[in-house]
């Protein structure tokens, strides 16, 4: 009896060992001789005039878009499919969070027949996809097909990362989103007597003081610390505005070890904390409470995400029993630019805002040149078409494409005028995570550094420094772990 048992065990062991080996054979890398992993086959279909003809090309896109953004994005894709009916059709798959990267990587590496052709990723994922050889150079494909756009005509703050440190450009960065501010026009005017919106930190502090003197029970700034992106976006923003950087060239952090950085990170924390300590903003606010205060005219500024614009305006209208149009006239947007710069308020650094940016990239499974042309055609349509830019901006995403940003359709759109352009006044200063495969650990440590500092009961300098040191070491040791 025992023998049979052992026999069965050995059999399953053998089976188990074969699986990874078999998978090896199935996927694996088909590297070219020169070490590249992409190729082109076939010939372009052209008509008599030499223009490209698309004959029912079917493309698959995996996107990281989710939540509130899904409907506007789906609408835009539907528009494209309608406009290119019979020529190009795009099928979109919405994936979430961490599984986006893993799903795309696995499918592309296994050459699955449902692998995506286009990926719409966050800029931060670029390095990971590159390391796992998931994507191919966009500029090369563009040149081969002749469906070209100017790859330099995008906001520099983000476009600098599109090459991921190589000689080719892999991604096309077309939009951005960070923390934004909504403000109550009437309340501002009441407080300061003028329509002028504060541009620097000292101006903001003075407005807050004036408000607090008149309404000691209320807080001029509302925000929700438990919001998804609050600490995640604000901490890097504060660091950048104080002239710091997130990690060194070797990808490790020196937030504590480098003296200048230490001072900068301390200032960054203090700059956010100072609003709480001066009584201008509440601490530890639960979701929804900030919105309520703003809608009840208890605060001038409300710091939150750009894609809630519609909800906020209509919620304000309901709460104050006016129409949506009237509400739109009472609320406008301003940016967090300059809010956290403790010194050098008017420097270039003070203008920086940190957030996420979406990019389009072509996966390596696209080999047929007609498919490549179709992908380029779509990217061109999305990044040069002003209508699309305006639509996507209404969903809360500012365009990074110079072409769209300068067109009249875009610049005259009322939401662009009232909100988008005010939210991101200096597009070239908008920055994202950059090129590191460990971005999620960097992000998590920055986020918890801020959230824990803000929740401290006794905020002393040494407490902040302790936290900075802890988080820096946590990040560095985790990177060691990955390199193991």
């Amino acid at each position: 009896m025992k023998k049979k048992f052992l026999g069965a065990l050995c059999l399953s062991l053998a089976l188990a060992l074969t699986v990874p080996l078999a998978a090896c054979g199935g996927g694996g890398d088909d590297l070219n001789e020169d070490g590249t992993w992409w190729s082109t086959t076939g010939e372009l279909n052209k008509d008599a005039n030499g223009d490209i003809v698309f004959d029912d090309v079917s493309l698959r896109m995996s996107t990281i878009v989710s939540g509130v953004d899904k409907t506007p994005f789906g609408d835009i894709i539907a528009q494209f499919n309608a406009q290119y009916r019979g020529k190009i059709n795009i099928n979109v798959i919405y994936l979430q969070g961490d599984n986006f990267e893993k799903d795309v990587t696995m499918k592309v590496q296994q050459n699955a027949n449902n692998a995506p052709d286009i990926v719409m990723l966050h800029q931060e994922s670029l390095k990971g996809f590159l390391d796992y050889k998931v994507i191919q150079p966009y500029d090369l494909a563009m040149e081969e097909t002749g469906v070209e756009i100017d790859l330099t005509a995008f906001a520099q703050g983000v476009n600098q990362y599109a090459q991921a440190g190589t000689e080719y450009q892999y991604g096309v960065p077309f939009d951005a989103a960070g923390m934004v501010v909504y403000y109550n026009k009437d309340l501002l005017k009441e407080t300061t007597g003028s329509d002028k919106v504060p541009q620097t930190r000292s101006e903001l502090l003075s407005v807050c003081k004036q408000f607090k003197d008149k309404n000691s029970g209320n807080y001029p700034i509302s925000w929700e610390m438990s919001g998804d992106f609050f600490c995640q976006y604000l901490m890097p923003t504060a660091v950048l505005q104080n002239g710091g950087y997130l990690y060194k060239e070797d990808l490790y952090a020196d937030w504590y070890n480098n003296e200048t950085q230490r001072g900068i990170y301390k200032n960054a924390i203090q700059s956010v904390r100072s609003y709480i300590d001066s009584g201008y903003a509440k601490k530890g606010v639960h979701e929804m409470a900030g919105a309520t205060d703003f809608m009840q005219n208890k605060s001038i500024f409300y710091v939150t995400m750009p894609w809630y614009r519609e909800n906020i305006v209509s919620g304000y209208a309901t709460m104050n029993q006016i129409t949506v149009a009237e509400a739109e006239a009472k609320i406008s947007g301003t940016s967090v630019s300059g809010w956290f710069a403790m010194e050098n308020e008017t420097s270039e650094n003070a203008k920086k805002i940190f957030g996420d940016s979406h990019m389009f990239a072509m996966t390596k499974t696209v080999k047929d040149i007609n498919k490549k042309a179709a992908v380029c055609e779509f990217v061109k349509w999305f990044t040069q078409n002003a209508d699309v830019g305006a639509q996507w901006a209404e969903a809360g995403h500012v365009t990074l494409s110079n072409t769209i940003a300068t067109s009249t359709t875009y610049t005259e759109n009322k939401n662009v005028v009232n909100f988008i352009n005010n939210w991101y006044p200096h597009l070239d200063s908008f920055t994202t995570m950059g090129i590191t495969p460990y971005y999620s650990t960097v992000s998590e440590n920055l986020k918890t550094l801020l959230s824990e500092s803000l929740l401290l009961d006794s905020p002393t300098e040494s407490a902040y420094l302790e936290l900075i040191k802890t988080k820096q070491n946590a990040l560095n040791s985790r990177i060691d772990m990955f390199k193991m």
């Binding site: 986006f100 449902n114 979701e287 929804m288 919105a291 809630y308």
Partner: protein
């Protein structure tokens, strides 16, 4: 019968104690029942509160007069673009997958237990020993590789369509659970208590195993079957971890109710969604409630009858 004046019967001491016991029991149970059901009542009441009431009066269990609304239940079926919204899909997913899990598990347990108890074959002891050993094994180390196998199979099959993905994910979700060893052992223990004589007499009457199975063993096993149905039902319906792993990264259409609710409303709740989250919770409990109301007596009696003796 003599209808004399009614004399008060004097209760015996044990009858008095019994009555006192019952009063104490009644009070304790009433309080316990109230505490247990209270959160559910709160859930029901809050789901009908209007947004205004939610913000102004968080301390009330039921909406103030004039603030009752069905608004939170509104978005369940049709979204503004006319498509079928997700709630019914999630509900259907949970319902049919749980039904399949329960049915298949029951069938498997009956068959396996019957084979183990009533058939004679070599290797029976090894088989039973293996089952018991498996109960002690830390199955948790199989989660990561299980996921890898699933991914590899999926890519090997080249599943691309929504329908294909759906079929594969649910197959992988339901089938592994069917071999739950605890239920097999439960059923086997019950079968062992069936007196051998009945089986012998049926055999000597010329009945095949199949007839014995169908006509004698199965009807006897009704109470154990109920127990297994109940266990499997709640385990499958409320399963969060396993399905969450499998469904990670897929579209929302594929989720079961439990996974969908946990992801949308777990922890610090979503923006302005208190009323909606309560309404979805109430809505998702409706099938459970229906089954419960119709079978609660029988199931609880059945559960009590087997008494899971060690």
């Amino acid at each position: 019968m003599m209808n004399g004046p009614k004399t008060k019967k004097r209760l015996t001491k044990s009858q008095l104690t019994a009555r006192r016991e019952k009063t104490v029991a009644f009070i304790v149970l009433a309080i316990a029942a109230l505490l247990f059901v209270f959160p559910l009542i709160y859930m029901l009441g809050t789901s009908f509160k209007s947004d205004f009431d939610l913000q102004m009066h968080p301390d009330k269990i039921f909406p103030s007069p004039g603030q009752w609304t069905l608004k939170h239940y509104n978005g369940f079926f049709i979204t503004h673009s006319g498509e079928l919204d997700n709630m019914p899909k999630w509900m259907l997913n949970s319902i049919w997958s749980t039904a399949a899990a329960v049915g298949l598990t029951l069938l498997t347990d009956l068959i396996v237990a019957y084979v183990v108890v009533f058939l004679r074959w070599k290797g029976k002891k090894v088989f039973m020993k293996a089952l018991f050993a498996w109960m002690a094994a830390p199955a948790v180390i199989g989660t990561a590789p299980g996921l890898m196998i699933y991914q590899t199979v999926r890519n090997a099959l080249g599943v691309s369509s929504q329908a294909g993905t759906y079929a594969l994910v649910y197959f992988w979700m339901i089938v592994p659970g069917i071999t739950g060893v605890f239920n097999v052992i439960l059923m086997r223990n019950f079968f062992k208590t069936i007196p051998v004589d009945i089986i012998e007499s049926a055999k000597s009457d010329g009945a095949s195993h199949f007839t014995i199975f169908r006509k004698i063993v199965c009807p006897l096993a009704k109470s154990t079957m109920m127990v297994i149905v109940l266990f499997t039902f709640s385990a499958s319906w409320n399963n969060l971890q396993g399905p969450q792993l499998l469904m990670a990264g897929e579209g929302q259409y594929i989720q079961t109710i439990t996974v969908a609710l946990a992801e949308s409303y777990g922890g610090s709740s979503a923006w302005g969604a208190q009323g909606v989250s309560m309404a979805t919770a109430v809505f998702s409990m409706i099938p459970v409630l229906i089954i419960f109301i119709f079978t609660q007596n029988k199931m609880i009696e059945g559960l009590a009858a087997t008494g899971v003796k060690g």
